[in-house]
């Protein structure tokens, strides 16, 4: 066993409430794995965390260059953590390019742990610093605390007797640096050792080498004068709600949410989908859930993806499709079909920067309009949005519930930020999940009155009549239906009636969803910051700070974008001003203005980057000054 439990003799330990770390290196340096390991350890130790990977769009961008830099950012703390952090406290730089690409986001006086072996002539040239201009030595990093460690050399030395090839030894350098970080933050290395033993259970030599490297890194911290002088940090457990946790990304959470909804409803989940960044992991995750009866169909295109789900839904499956902007555009016609067929379907749309191919790996909130208005004809669909990685689970679950219980396609909006971010999820018990009751039509005898597929209940919802059931044979499709019988009808009055009935059915969902609540702040006041989706964390922190600064500011986050909660209009009237920050050019703002005839203040950011709390805090401060 390693001696990680013995505290370093006499070294000063400074407690911290939150820390933001960026692991940055070449895309081949294993930064995602290293970051994930660190995240798992701090989570198990009880901190709250939020992580966000930042990788190049190219699979293998040239090594050593800025475009080849891969990053894994995380914030952890002894209190609730809502974002992966705006600026870093610690920057791990495996090479010169990693430093160059990220130095501007390091806090003044922050810590740099650099692998000095990644700052040789070649790396300096490729990074753009230029050969002979080593930033670790020329004053570039004079304002920071720099630990320049020859990680490759030290790893080779530590693993010299393993008999592994130099190539395999060098691949353990990320574990060495992880060991240093564990030491620095007073964290044990056991979680990582257990993971390595499991991950490489059939490659004992590789497991041993990695364990040696992480131990060597830890001991290096323990034994090296420069670290001892600097001291260590500690982050106390966050006092999170007791229970069992797992770490999920937004995409994993959405996938599990759909599968859980199907289980709860007693249905089989079918996902028809086509790979698209940043939504692909939903298809990937669900393709691994066959044990739970999940069937995935990787279609030939986006259109076939949604249509296969429409077919499966007609057949009585809980059907979903996952996509991102360009795919949602392609699915528009099929969504109109689902609207007129009045069958359940969940569309999880993971928003990215648009239009067109746009910024495939970058988040944006610019698909609200296409979700709301992006179909020909009068084709309303309910829209639910997720505000955090974990909330992707609940949003997808609820989308499935509404879809099945109200016989309508539902759009669940997440985005690339939530999709790739991760955070701890308190695992709910099955009983805690709300029940889902499909409205199946029952078998009919030959002498019963003819079945009426478009007869509705008091919520305006028709039955789900599934093939294989006797006496329910019926033909439906894209042509306008006669009320109740569902036969093709071109009657003008009938079309007007059916248009109204379809719209009312969606409107009535407002009776079934929770009222809008205030997330933070008072129920009346000067300013309401109204957000939706992934801006939650940044708004939460910014409003919290504004309240602490004595301002009359509140935060409400809209989950149900169509229909809106019934009390939303009244709530907006309780504030002198309403501020709507969005990663688009004002889409929710226009919907709010249109619906409630008020003039909110817009705050828009379309840079392919999420808001950070400082931006929103500054905006709030500007507004309250004028009030």
């Amino acid at each position: 066993m390693t001696d990680t439990t013995t505290t370093n003799k006499g070294v000063n330990v400074t407690p911290k409430t939150s820390v933001t770390v960026l692991f940055a290196g070449d895309s081949g340096d294993g930064m995602q794995l290293t970051g994930t390991q660190f995240a798992n350890t701090v989570a198990v130790y009880g901190s709250d965390i939020n992580t966000f990977p930042n990788f190049p769009s190219e699979i293998r961008a040239p090594a050593g260059t800025i475009s080849g830099v891969s990053g894994f950012q995380m914030q952890f703390g002894s209190q609730s953590v809502y974002t992966p952090g705006a600026k870093f406290d610690v920057l791990i730089a495996m090479n010169a390019a990693a430093l160059k690409a990220n130095l501007n986001k390091l806090h003044h006086g922050g810590i740099i742990i650099a692998d000095s072996d990644g700052f040789d002539g070649k790396n300096l040239r490729l990074s753009g610093y230029g050969e002979g201009n080593n930033p670790l030595e020329d004053g570039t990093v004079a304002d920071y605390t720099v630990f320049s460690v020859p990680v490759v050399s030290l790893t080779r030395k530590a693993l010299a007797d393993t008999g592994l090839s130099v190539k395999n030894i060098d691949r353990c350098k990320n574990m060495f640096i992880l060991g240093i970080l564990y030491w620095l933050y007073s964290l044990p290395i056991d979680t990582t050792i257990t993971t390595l033993q499991t991950k490489f259970k059939n490659k004992a030599d590789i497991a041993d080498a990695n364990i040696k490297a992480v131990t060597a890194g830890y001991n290096f911290g323990d034994e090296t004068e420069m670290f001892a002088q600097f001291g260590r940090f500690s982050v106390a457990p966050a006092g999170k709600q007791p229970g069992t946790y797992r770490r999920v990304t937004g995409n994993e959470a959405a996938a599990i949410g759909l599968a859980a909804a199907a289980k709860k409803a007693g249905l089989k989940l079918f996902l028809g989908s086509y790979p698209i960044t940043p939504a692909t992991e939903i298809l990937q995750t669900l393709s691994n859930l066959k044990k739970w009866g999940v069937k995935t169909f990787q279609a030939e295109d986006e259109i076939a993806g949604v249509l296969s789900s429409i077919g499966a839904s007609y057949g009585g499956a809980m059907a979903a499709t996952s996509t991102s902007g360009p795919g949602l555009a392609l699915k528009s016609e099929a969504l109109g079909l689902a609207v007129i067929m009045e069958i359940p379907l969940v569309v999880v749309n993971v928003q990215r920067g648009g239009p067109s191919t746009g910024l495939p790996t970058k988040p944006e909130q610019s698909d609200l309009f296409i979700s709301m208005y992006g179909r020909h004809g009068e084709a309303p669909m309910p829209i639910i949005s997720a505000h955090s990685p974990v909330d992707c689970f609940y949003a997808a679950y609820e989308a499935a519930k509404l879809s099945v219980e109200h016989m309508t396609p539902v759009i669940c909006l997440t985005d690339g930020y939530l999709a790739f971010s991760s955070e701890p999820m308190l695992i709910p018990s099955p009983a805690e999940l709300s029940g889902i009751k499909p409205v199946f039509a029952k078998e009919r005898a030959a002498d019963d009155a003819p079945y009426l597929p478009y007869k509705r209940n008091e919520m305006g919802v028709r039955d789900w009549a599934v093939p294989g059931t006797k006496g329910l044979e019926h033909r439906i499709g894209g042509l306008e239906k006669a009320n109740e019988t569902g036969n093709v009808s071109h009657d003008p009055a009938n079309h007007a009636l059916m248009t109204k009935l379809r719209a009312e059915k969606v409107e009535k969902i407002a009776d079934c969803i929770p009222l809008q609540t205030i997330d933070n702040g008072t129920e009346k006041g000067d300013l309401l910051v109204l957000g939706w989706g992934s801006t939650y964390g940044a708004i939460k922190i910014a409003v919290d700070r504004a309240i602490k600064a004595g301002h009359s500011v509140s935060h409400a986050h809209v989950r149900y974008l169509n229909p809106f909660p019934k009390n939303l209009g009244t709530m907006l009237g309780n504030y002198k001003k309403v501020l709507i920050p969005e990663n688009n050019c004002g889409q929710l703002l226009m919907m709010i203005r249109d619906r409630y005839l008020i003039e909110p203040i817009a705050f828009n950011k379309v840079e392919g980057l999420p808001f950070n709390e400082m931006e929103i805090e500054a905006k709030i401060t500007d507004i309250v000054k004028e009030l």
């Binding site: 989570a43 859930l289 066959k290 249509l307 499956a317 093939p467 059931t469 044979e473 894209g478």
Partner: protein
Amino acid sequence: MTDTLTKLTAKDFTSNQEPKWCAGCGDHAVLQQLKSAMADLGLKTEEVVVVSGIGCSSRLPYYVATYGIHGIHGRALPVASGLKAARPELSVWVATGDGDALSIGGNHYIHTIRRNPDLNIILLNNEIYGLTKGQYSPTSKIGQRTVTSPNGVVDYPMNTIALTLGSGGTFVARVMDRDGKFMREIFKRASEHRGTSLVEIYQNCPIFNDGAFTPFTDRERKADTTIYLEHGKPLIFGKESDKGIKLDGFTPVVVDLNDPKVSRDDLWIHDENDFIKANMLSRFFDDPDAEGDYLPRPFGIFYVEDRFTYEDALTAQVEKAQENGEGTLEELLAGKSTWTIK
């Protein structure tokens, strides 16, 4: 449970909706034979789903008293594929046309064929767009004058059978709309085949493309312009059954059986499991009205292959994953790696 023992008739498969196709349209005959075939097959109305796209032929589901989906243009096949994957026990039929399946739905067509779900595709090919009133389709003939090709079609026509074989089709057949009984038998074979069955029907549109198939239906000419494929039988055609096809190396040639130098033993024997020969037969695509020699147009079953279906393979994977029991909701929520905070 008497109804499970009573065999249904074509009438039981007739819905209460009056077909709205033009008088004389080939679709009427196809509908009738389809309903008869379903009755002959002993299918029950509640276990059948007819899925279609858009076009004249795609109205067919409304007239069959089973379950049915009239979807969107070109895209019946993904709807049917998803339905079949979710509910493999259903009998799923697809009614489509040349424009629907081969033009706007071309991508879905080739991918469905290669995946081989157990669907029965009835492709009514009238070589024209009927519902939009007479524009040329992907199977229209070169030079054909239509409202959108006033100077004649310059698009080279699609060969449905060759496309289907090229996409990995496992049941490939062609029939003429007038051959009612033959069509019914082919429908039954198509239904019994496990995998995607393609039945291309040459269907006359009396309004916008009347007579498109006259060279193959004309009483005087059809014996010479068509050949009926029968498994294990030599390729013989002609009014007097005196013409045959033999292979001269890799080249099919028409031989005169009255010629004493020609032996019937040399004739091409149709083998519906021979992929290479099926491909050659698919290229019997000459226009009898064009100049020069032509090979007769084949009807019947070109090719049959016994290959796993998509839904069977998918279901097998699900069953394998569940061999130690289906996952519970608790297990799903917990995932593989958890930690506990006390």
